[in-house]
């Protein structure tokens, strides 16, 4: 599934220009993060991918076809969308039923439905809550339930709007596992987020938005080093990347990478120090 956003303009009825001639191409199977301040146009952009919003001007094409006229109900099979606020989409009596709703609605047969729902619950570590009522769960878990419901639809494209908000360490790890499992299925994953460490750990491509424009687009090792664009977008690279920028050598972005790199460097220096010590 190739997504092409072409000269996309969106102006809200209030007059606010939320997208100003945005161009973006996303290949099938890409795992991409969109970062930027509140109001920079991130959510407006992704809402165009499944027809929740329609262009004021320009177009969104899926596999070369302009989706302007395609109904949301049809687009939902191709592009699954998990909202920022889970309560916008939760309304069934049990976690299992809630997660079944999407795939059921797009016509999954019983065997496939069970399989998809179980896999989604498993991927997000929700299997033990399957019979609970969603509203007895904490808001953080409810959010995972709403994400599972979208993941279970097995759409070609999965869009998550600020999935890690309000999640603890365990919740973030669950979302990371889900992204990994979507990636291994060849699903295109597009995530809007404010969590820079999460971006550095999980995404091959980062799109930076500010004031209705795309300001930068590239792998994290490039984007987090483009300080002018980051400052203009009001963002900051994760601490480990900022450390890397102070040191010589190739960039590192995660604690694990930094540990590997610095361990060998420190032991080399320690070796040199103890060598000096032995000199008379």
């Amino acid at each position: 599934m190739f997504i092409e956003v072409r000269d996309l303009v969106h102006r809200y009825p209030t007059g606010t220009l939320a997208l100003d001639h945005v161009n973006l191409g996303i290949d099938g199977g890409e795992v991409l993060a969109i970062i930027g301040q509140n109001g920079s146009g991130k959510t407006t952009l992704v809402k165009h991918l499944n027809g929740l919003l329609r262009p004021t001007d320009g177009a969104v094409c899926l596999n070369g076809e302009d989706i302007r006229e395609r109904p949301i109900s049809e687009l939902a099979r191709t592009v699954g969308f998990a909202f920022q606020n889970p309560d916008d989409q939760i309304f069934r009596g049990s976690v299992r039923e809630e997660v079944s709703f999407g795939p059921e609605n797009i016509g999954f047969e019983r065997a496939e439905l069970t399989d998809a729902v179980d896999a989604a619950l498993e991927a997000l570590g929700l299997a033990s809550y399957r019979d609970d009522h969603p509203y007895t769960l904490s808001p953080a878990l409810r959010k995972l339930v709403s994400i599972a419901g979208v993941y279970a639809m097995r759409s070609d494209v999965l869009v998550l709007d600020e999935p890690t908000t309000g999640q603890d360490l365990k919740g973030v790890r669950r979302i990371e596992r889900l992204i990994e499992s979507a990636r291994s299925r060849g699903t295109t994953v597009i995530v809007v987020t404010h969590d820079m460490a999460f971006v550095a750990r999980n995404f091959g491509r980062v799109v930076v938005m500010a004031d209705a424009h795309v300001l930068d687009d590239g792998p994290p090792a490039t984007v987090f080093w483009n300080l002018d664009a980051l400052v203009a977008a009001g963002l900051e690279a994760p601490a480990v990347a900022r450390l890397s920028q102070q040191l010589e050598g190739p960039p590192f972005l995660t604690i694990a990478d930094a540990e590997l790199r610095l361990k060998s460097r420190l032991s080399a220096e320690a070796g040199r120090h103890s060598g000096e010590e032995r000199r008379p």
């Binding site: 930027g36 301040q37 509140n38 109001g39 904490s138 953080a140 878990l141 908000t165 309000g166 999640q167 603890d168 360490l169 365990k170 919740g171 404010h194 820079m196 460490a197 009001g234 963002l235 900051e236 994760p238 601490a239 480990v240 900022r242 450390l243 102070q246 604690i255 930094a258 540990e259 610095l262 361990k263 420190l266 220096e269 320690a270 120090h273 103890s274 010590e277």
Partner: protein
């Protein structure tokens, strides 16, 4: 002592397990406290007890005692409680009156409801807007503000009631990085006026550099309290299911020991701490 819990246990009405189990703590006036812990650890329940919302509003069985400036919360009316302890919710939207047309009116709204005279309302509103750094937004329509501005307005509205304690439950969860920094900086600056601040947050990088003390909750119990460097150096951090700031974690993984000085949070601190490492070997 601004707030004290003494062997406090609380079980919500209808629940079988206590949400808070045998927690004792002392929070001093003019300090900034961060509460951390995984989902369901009891962070919000602790806030409910500190603000008196439990057991006044959210009923349940309370064992032990919660004292605000030496007085048990069960002996204070809800009116007396709200003037002592201000509570800021996660979503600033929930906090707004939605009946005012300007930032200044919004800050005055709560005070009018408390029956405070006009001159005093003006003075307090002015002060609160200044403390939160939003005085220049006084004439703006609240719903036109950015997320960070809106949350600072929510804090200002509560602050204007002159509570001695301010409790904030994940006040930046809806905010972008810039809005988040604005709220942290504004809140940290307020403790100079003697205000005690208690904030529940997941954003450990910011908590570590802004709060005086961290409190760690796990399964309804308080498992650690101390300065961020002290708490985050503890080897039990993993069991508590919390994260360290990235550079603190990295320094520990690289074998940094206490002899090397304080646990680093920022890049400069890290470079110093790790450069010391090799020299300490011999």
């Amino acid at each position: 002592m601004a707030l004290e819990l003494e062997h406090t246990t609380f079980t919500y009405a209808g629940a079988t397990q206590p949400a808070i189990t045998d927690v004792s703590l002392r929070l001093e006036a003019g300090q900034f406290y961060g509460i951390i812990g995984s989902t369901g650890a009891g962070k919000s329940s602790l806030c409910n007890l500190l603000t008196g919302i439990a057991p006044h509003f959210l009923k349940g069985e309370l064992g032990g005692e919660v004292r605000i400036e030496g007085v048990s919360t069960t002996q204070l009316s809800m009116e007396e409680l709200v003037t002592r302890v201000g509570y800021v919710f996660q979503n600033p939207f929930d906090q707004l009156s939605h009946v005012t047309y300007s930032v200044e009116e919004e800050v005055a709204f709560g005070l009018q409801n408390l029956g405070i005279e006009v001159g005093e309302i003006r003075t307090r509103a002015e002060w609160a807007l200044k403390v939160l750094g939003i005085a220049d937004l006084r004439d703006r329509f609240p719903l036109d503000l950015s997320g960070g501005e809106l949350q600072r307005l929510a804090v200002a509205s509560i602050l204007a009631m002159k509570p001695s304690v301010l409790v904030l439950d994940e006040p930046t969860s809806q905010l972008d990085p810039q809005g988040t920094r604005e709220v942290f900086e504004a809140v940290a600056a307020m403790r100079g006026s003697g205000l005690t601040v208690v904030m529940v947050e997941h954003k450990i990088e910011l908590l570590a550099t802004h709060v005086d003390e961290l409190l760690v909750m796990q399964r309804g119990r308080l498992v650690a309290q101390g300065s961020p460097r002290q708490v985050l150096s503890d080897p039990s951090v993993q069991d508590w299911e919390i994260e360290r700031p990235q550079l603190a974690e990295l320094a520990l993984r690289l074998g940094r020991t206490e002899a090397a000085g304080p646990l680093p949070f920022g890049v400069e601190e890290f470079l110093v701490a790790v450069n010391l490492g090799p020299k300490d070997v011999h």
